[in-house]
Symmetry: C2
Amino acid sequence: MGILDFFDLKPLGAILGDLETPVPVIDVDIVDANLKRWQARSDALGLANRPNAKTHKLAEVAKYQLALGASGISVQKLGEAEVVADARISDILVTFNIVGELKLVRLAALARRTAISVVADSAEVARGIGGAGLVAGCDIAVLVECDTGAGRNGLQSADAAVALAKFVDATPGVTYGGLMTYSAAGGRVKADAFLAGARDLAAAAGLQTATVGIGGSPDMWKDEGLSSATEYRAGTYVHFDRSLIALGACSYADCVLSLLAAMVSRPAPERAIIDAGSKALTSGPLGLEGYRVVHSLGDAQVYNVNEEHGYLDLSRVDVRPSIGDLVAITPNHACPVSNLFDQVILVRGSEVLGRVGVDALGLVQ
Amino acid sequence: MGILDFFDLKPLGAILGDLETPVPVIDVDIVDANLKRWQARSDALGLANRPNAKTHKLAEVAKYQLALGASGISVQKLGEAEVVADARISDILVTFNIVGELKLVRLAALARRTAISVVADSAEVARGIGGAGLVAGCDIAVLVECDTGAGRNGLQSADAAVALAKFVDATPGVTYGGLMTYSAAGGRVKADAFLAGARDLAAAAGLQTATVGIGGSPDMWKDEGLSSATEYRAGTYVHFDRSLIALGACSYADCVLSLLAAMVSRPAPERAIIDAGSKALTSGPLGLEGYRVVHSLGDAQVYNVNEEHGYLDLSRVDVRPSIGDLVAITPNHACPVSNLFDQVILVRGSEVLGRVGVDALGLVQ
């Protein structure tokens, strides 16, 4: 079984150099290797693997992740959940507080047709989800989100987490599904202690914690800090990127997604302009210097972006490229890049396999 | 005449607080004022006004700009040109080098149905456009792009610009349409001198420079450096944003576009999490501190973004918001924000007028 079994590809009859740019390109053999390696590790650790589809935004890849052994899918918003549910994937966790009447109506509709669970970090959010469960006619499982050091969403103490678990348990339309966190890079030991403490406190209060979920690609290969977890959520590992190279989670060889761009101007000897700017590469540096161009140009960096222009520094490049040449760029952060395109090109090395539409494009809500 | 004459709006029957978030909101009265003020100034200066549609990505707004007196429209890529041409707008300048066979085929198709002109800064690019003109059966006007200090695309000297103008003049399928530049903020006097010199050199070589085009919202209200220009391209001025406040081109009162987001978590007294992260606000700081929340929360800043999470600092906010409350954020740079959404909401103050689809969404090429 391989990822190509999940796509209905039409041959493009193109080579890489023929493709219209800018366009994201995904190497299927590296996707295969990344997904299988992580599933094997999850199996070895006895952890349920619940990958986050926010990175690839492709229902086909989500189905492949499940076929390889994932226990379910996680997503970051309802729009992604709806795309995944449309593909008949039935075990979906939305790792974002669902707030507002229109969103709760959509959640109720999803609960009627799929086994959807959600997170909450306050009574207000849990009460709203309970209302959606009552409308749907079925209880929605709620995981209590804990802030174990990332400084984002979540309860600040085990006591507060268990208080919310009790509230959920007593609220019509929802059931207490367990605990979850997104741990900051390097913060998993602390997260583990927080979650274990909350789980034990909940047990003492008579509440069974079915799931203890932890997430994040940065620490995915580390062994420590997994004593309490029953489930792991990783997203970016399907593609990897420069930010995860910097954090030691992968190498360039593991990076799946590259952005193919064309050289459109050579205004000065050491400067080239490519047709990929912030509307293709995003503008976020993530604390990294430049964007690395991996193929064909050694260490050349994209040192600036405007909306449609990328500025490429050729000062350390031996063979200077010509107008029309294509370059493949490894993004700093893959997830917001695939978010910008309505298609991706599947390749195997330099062979073009076909084009895939991105179902979740523009689903900002 | 007002902008609402150009939209076929269906009433939403909603108030601002009912809208599903995140969603961009545009105040039509401020759009009206911004567009009319700039058109009046262009008229007073005797400058052709050629606004760039990349900012709003709405054919209806482009039509309104023309109705107010704009001489034509400029765009940053072929996908935008096609959307504008579909709306029967016939005078379109693409201010980006068109490179590659597939793009040149699209350019030829556009040339058959509209008066399209393009830029070039090399013989290679001009030759490709000439081929498209021959395929289309009509000459395509080429403006020679000059790098007058921005360090992006363009010829580096007046001599080089005139050499390319001569090449264009001698190339089948294209005509020499003039000179253009994007001048860096504060760089217009230098740009003007460059362009005047190139124009005079071209004249000495027997070439008439029909258009001298200059662009950029940052310097749009400055009087100096306009001696040679016949045409001005501004894009962001329709919306304005924090980056243009910082450059002195506008005030908060002129900013049209705000991103409406919901408070989804209050994990700590001084921290709120909103449902607008880098996939809604973009990640680019543009050298500005945070993102300013203009309505309802004084000086509260979005101090960090993940893909779906925005981190709001409430330490200096007197009245602390509750979960479910909406906040309106003025983006640092408006253009990449409207690029992320398939819809915008038109409002007048706090009155919701209707919803508009964004035709150019996902047209990355």
